[in-house]
């Protein structure tokens, strides 16, 4: 080590010297000696390098006069001002990089040894040479060569940072022994010497030179990585758990401050005077105590001063008097009535029946007015649905359909009945002609003499026809009223004329028809009578569904035949039951559920049906024969079908008709019939053509390459060559593609099915174009989508779990970074009890710590 230091210092010195090398003038002889010393006389060429290299080494050995440091710089006695030395000097603790590596060091050492060896040889020769020259014993020179006295004048005072030359050269270095020597003999000496010996042996405590930086850092990194890995691997399970958890919860207990009203109220401090007063009363211990006891003492506490009492009393008295006055005033006002009030009141009194009773004249007048009204009604028949509106309603049947018109018409009829009713009350009074007539009419009807009745009616209508006068004065004289009257009269006249005609008819026919027409209208109940007849006709026929033989399976037919008798027995029984049921219904309760009062139209339509029954049956028999010639026709079945749907009336009684007409011709066998019916129908062929067409549309067939005239057929050779190879190849490729397309279709193997594979653009938005992020395979994605997660499809116990968001968190909760907690890697993700899980968290943490401590 000492050698190292010397070398470094020498090199430093050499640097410093390169500038200061201005020694004193030496005589030439000495210079020569020096040169000789520099280059030994007998040195070979090979040594040149070495010598030159050793120039520096030996430079320090020269006795050299060194110029004294200027006094300013030496700072002797600080007599001069401080002068900065601008010459660059390496710092004292400068270490050459080369020196630091151990290998280098070793190498250096060996080099030095060799060099020393060389030096020794050289020195030997040199001394011998000097001996021979000077004749002096070699010992005189030996010391000179071995110990090279060097004079150093130090620039700085000797100290810790500026060691002496001896120290630098490794000579006279202080060792432990030096320190120990003076202590020899003292009591602790043995111990310390032993300690030191031990220290020397103890190689551990030898401080080696630090490793080069990159190596050191590499090692450091290696060590750190191990540590970090260990530390981080602890977190892996936790992180994995969090990553894989379907839901992460952050709603750990949050302090929201006040939770109840009571908590808020307890904080209340009375501030205003009023509040303070209230508080003093509320917090009065006496009051609260009184409350707690039985409330009897409360009265005592509720003492009111005399002054207050009087004030209160006065106030109430004042209010009462005010109220009384107001009431009084309003009473008086109420009594006062206006002139018009009284006038109207009197009028009312007069008009009332009471007045009429009092005054015979008035009564008579009233009666006259009523009578006039009635006469008018009878004349004009204004309320007998003869109005334009009523007629229209009836003609369109709207009075049946809707309630409003129905009610209005009923009301009119009622009015008419009221007005035209015979008035018994009037009979005793001044007997008018009309009443007499009524009576006679009534009698007539009783006696049942239609001819006389008719005659009378005729007479009356004639009379009415004659006296259609127009009043000259009053409201009726106004032009529009007159017009209306005229119209009305005309209508009435017309009606009267019609009535006359009718009367004449009746007179001719003897009035028998009239009775019939009366009986037609009214309610009608559908009973068994109409219904039973139709089915009975067909009962005997073996027109059974299964009876018809089928060529396809004989077994079925045999079975059917076996069943036949059973069913035949069964069906009549069932029929009778239903019939009797309905009979009962009709007899017992005509308005029961099974009957429908659809009278108005029912009667008509039923009649029509029965009426046309005969003609229809003829028609139908014709029709049943028709299919045979039609069967040869191609469109046979279609025609038949359309005919069926068109003749609705016929269809209804179809069953009856076929059964009756069946006897007329032989039924051909089923297979024969089918063959005939579908003889010309090449339905399957048509379908195949259709399929081809659709396929062509969806997967277009490539066109065959054709020679276009004018292109490539200029010469015969070209024609002979035919279509170019390229075109053929292209066509082949297209064809292959087309075939592939056809093969991949869903309906490729189904001959009877065409499945359209057109893309529905509107439905495209219902599909995803790309897979959503974490998914990489279509299949997995579609499988994961198969289960609906809505509340309609899942039990309510699972819906919450199925739809829980990825992160559950209350608003305002601060999400803290993940804290370490021990997780068992074998534990599966458990999402069952989130709340428990959450509560357990802090507990787990503590347990983890304990575990950690234990492990350490």
């Amino acid at each position: 080590m000492g050698g190292l230091k010397r070398k470094s210092s020498s090199s430093a010195k050499a640097l410093a010297k390169s500038k200061k090398k201005k020694g004193p003038h030496l005589p030439n002889s000495i210079l020569k000696v020096i040169a000789n010393q520099k280059r030994p006389l007998n040195s070979d060429e090979e040594d040149d390098d070495d010598v030159i290299g050793s120039d520096d080494e030996h430079g320090g050995d020269l006795y050299e006069y060194e110029e004294g440091v200027p006094e300013e710089e030496s700072r002797k006695n600080n007599r001069y001002d401080r002068h900065e030395n601008y010459d660059y000097e390496l710092p004292e603790d400068f270490e050459d990089e080369n020196v630091e590596s151990e290998d280098d060091d070793d190498g250096g050492n060996t080099d030095n040894d060799e060099a020393e060896g060389d030096d020794d040889d050289d020195d030997d020769r040199h001394t011998r040479m000097l001996q021979s020259l000077t004749g002096m014993p070699s010992a005189a020179f030996e010391g000179e060569s071995k110990s090279k006295p060097v004079l150093f004048t130090e620039a700085y005072p000797e100290g810790e940072f500026n060691p002496t030359r001896d120290v630098l050269e490794g000579k006279n270095v202080l060792t432990e022994e030096d320190f120990l020597a003076p202590l020899e003999g003292t009591p602790g000496y043995q111990k310390t010497s032993k300690q030191i010996a031990r220290m020397r042996k103890d190689t551990k405590h030898v401080v080696h030179a630090p490793l080069p930086k990159p190596q050191r850092e590499r090692l450091e990194r290696k060590a750190v990585i191990g540590l970090v890995d260990e530390e981080f691997s602890k977190w892996v399970h936790l992180v994995k758990k969090n990553r894989e958890a379907p839901t992460v919860y952050f709603n750990q207990d949050v302090d929201l401050g006040y939770s109840t009203v009571g908590a808020i109220a307890s904080e209340f401090q009375p501030r205003t005077e009023f509040e303070k007063k209230m508080a003093s009363v509320l917090n009065d211990s006496e009051v609260s105590e009184a409350h707690r006891d039985d409330g009897a003492r409360l009265l005592e506490l509720n003492e009111v001063s005399m002054e207050d009492h009087i004030k209160d009393h006065n106030h109430i008295a004042k209010m009462r008097s005010l109220l009384f006055r107001h009431e009084f005033k309003s009473k008086r006002i109420k009594k006062i009535k206006s002139k018009t009030y009284h006038r109207l009141k009197n009028k009312d009194l007069k008009n009332s029946s009471l007045g009429a009773l009092m005054d015979p004249e008035m009564a008579k007048e009233e009666a006259m007015r009523q009578e006039a009204k009635r006469v008018e009604e009878r004349m004009t028949l204004k309320h007998r649905n003869t109005g334009k509106w009523a007629k229209r309603m009836i003609s369109r049947g709207l009075n049946v359909k809707y309630d409003g018109p129905k009610a209005a018409i009923a009301e009119q009829l009622q009015m008419n009945a009221n007005l035209s009713r015979k008035m018994n009350s009037m009979r005793d009074g001044s007997s008018s002609d009309e009443s007499d007539d009524e009576e006679e009419f009534n009698d007539g009807s009783d006696e049942d003499t239609p001819s006389r009745l008719i005659a009378k009616a005729k007479e009356k209508t004639l009379k009415a026809l004659e006296d259609d006068e127009v009043p000259n004065a009053g409201l009726m004289s106004l032009p529009f009223m007159a017009r209306a009257m005229k119209k009305k009269n005309e209508e009435a006249n017309e009606e009267a004329k019609r009535a006359l005609e009718e009367y004449e008819e009746w007179e001719n026919s003897g009035g028998e028809n009239s009775k019939k027409s009366v009986t037609v209208s009214g309610r009608r109940v559908f009973g068994a009578t109409a219904k039973v007849e139709a089915p009975k006709e067909s009962r005997k026929d073996s027109d059974n569904f299964y009876d018809d033989s089928d060529s396809d399976n004989d077994m079925a037919r045999i079975e059917d035949n076996n069943i036949e008798p059973v069913r035949d027995n069964a069906s009549p029984a069932r029929n009778t039951i239903t019939e009797t049921e309905f009979d009962d219904d009709v007899a017992g309760n005509p308005a029961s559920k099974t009957t429908f009062d659809v009278a108005m139209f029912a009667s008509g339509s039923w009649k029509k049906m029965t009426g046309s029954k005969n003609t229809e049956s003829k028609k139908a028999s014709k029709k049943t024969r028709a299919p045979i010639p039609q069967a040869q026709d191609k469109k046979g079945p279609r025609d038949e079908e359309s005919g069926d749907s068109e003749s609705e009336a016929e269809q209804m009684v179809d069953g009856v008709l076929t059964s009756t007409s069946k006897e007329t011709f032989e039924v051909p066998s089923q297979a024969e019939l089918i063959n005939r019916a579908f003889a010309g129908d090449d339905v399957l062929d048509e379908f195949e053509k259709d399929k081809e067409e659709v396929l062509n549309q969806e997967v277009p067939k490539p066109e065959k390459p054709v020679l276009v005239p004018g292109w490539g057929d200029w010469t015969n050779i070209q024609k002979k060559r035919g279509i170019s190879k390229q075109m053929v190849q292209k066509h082949d490729a297209e064809k292959k593609e087309w075939e592939q397309g056809l093969k991949t279709r869903k309906d490729a193997r189904l001959k009877h099915v065409i499945i359209s594979e057109k893309v529905d653009k509107k439905a495209e938005k219902l599909h995803t174009t790309t897979l959503p992020f974490p998914f990489t395979s279509k299949e997995v994605f579609e499988h994961s989508m198969r289960m609906p997660i809505g509340p309609e499809f899942n039990p309510s116990t699972i819906v919450g779990e199925l739809n829980r968001p990825e992160v559950v968190k209350k608003t305002g909760v601060i999400i803290k970074p993940v804290k370490f907690e021990e997780v068992n890697p074998n534990d599966e993700v458990d999402d069952e009890h989130p709340r428990n899980h959450q509560k357990q968290r802090p507990k787990k943490k503590t347990s983890r710590r304990q575990g950690k401590v234990k492990s350490k």
Binding site: F545, V759, E779, I798
Partner: protein, 534 residues
Amino acid sequence: MEVALEDNNLMEKVLPPDEQEIDVELEAKEKKYLRGEGANLESLKDKKLKTQLASREKLYGKSAKAAAKIEKWLLPASAGYLETEGLEKTWRIKQTDIAKEVDLLSSRNQYDIVLPDFGPYKLDFTASGRHMLAGGRKGHLALVDMMNMNLIKEIHVRETVRDVAFLHNDQFFAAAQKKYSYIYARDGTELHCLKERGPVARLRFLKNHFLLASVNKIGQLHYQDVTYGDMVASIRTGKGRTDVMEVNPYNGVVALGHSGGTVTMWKPTSQAPLVQMQCHPGPVSAVAFHPNGHLMATSGKERKVKIWDLRKFEEVQTIHGFHAKTLSFSQKGLLAAGTGSFVQVLGDSSGGGHSRYMSHPMVKGYQVEKVMFRPYEDVLGIGHSMGWSSVLIPGSGEPNFDSWVANPFETSKQRREKEVHLLLDKLPPETIMLDPSKIGAMRPSRRKEKPTRGEIEAEKEVAIEAAKSVEMKKKTKGRNKPSKRTKKKKELVENAKKTFPELEEKNIAGKKRRIGEDAAAELPTSLKRFARKN
């Protein structure tokens, strides 16, 4: 000893037989509620997704289990059935025999209502089965409360009525009349006259979509939204006149039966039929759909009834020997067929196809016009030429109703609430498709897609390889020089390369140009002339 131990363990594990049975039952139900199997998660690389999906799948399993348990324990009513002993056959049992056995309330459902005047009756029930609408051919419309057999309203429109249909509840119904179809309120008030459709032959209402579908005399199919009255679609079927129309309750697809023996299926957003099936050689007389949407029954005039699987579009079963004028599936999958004056009910009891279950002969001469099962009751309504009848078919109706879906005992308040919910849940017309479970899935790839770069490169390599391996013909002396052969080969390879245009370079060139243009465009006009021109 070991064996004995195991045996002991086994003994512990084995449950009592009835519990085992329950387990099996529950498992079957669970499977139903799981709606298919989960994806294979093993193939997933994303661990996070894998565990998330696994936990999801677990939740689904839990949900299915809970649902199965609820169904097991909270839906106590069991479906009806008809059991025979020895040589007895179920189809020989008559209604009179049944009437003796059933309770009073059920026996009330056996009745005939004779209304001979207004011709064959069409029937329709509300979804809950509470109300029935009967439409007589000659204009008699009757709305009946089936619970208390109360005639709510009866009107006479005095013209032909071809079909009737309830709208979303008993408050409104539509009738296809002679010239137009009309919408009436419950009290018989005419609300709308639907003139746009022309003379309608059949009317059906799509409950989830609020569409009134109709097919008219000239074979046009119309869809009208009844919420705002817009005509959503009018489609010309081009197959001629038809009066066979039915809605698939599962997906809302409308099926029409045609005279050529084809059944076509339609949706409002496409003018072409979704599916065309050649079902019969002769005209199709009736079509019916199973409530789960997988089965379709068709009847041809050649006296055959066929049952089809709609998932595969294949025939499942052919029933020979009769043709049906009208067909109807019950909620439990019984199939009723009516012809002439005879009604036949087919059941799928053993799972091996539909076979005869019950039959009901009407009075001779009654022509069955329409059969329809009453929802949530073991009752079959039969509309015929002389009124309508109701017979008991044990095991036809769903025994447990879901009051959120259809409640026969609905109060007016509930009805109003429901109406609002229904409107909120209304589906747009484009959701009608053959497989509605595909909604939300990936869009089916188009037939023609641009090949990816990788594919192009692969193809190119293949082409080059092919060009290289082409064997040269041996040619005459002068032309067969090796130099010429190599030249030729090079040419071939070059040609093979040429067929694949180099996309990249083009793109780059395009980009460059674009950049230059942009720069020019961005500059103010005064400086534009200084922009570099490429």
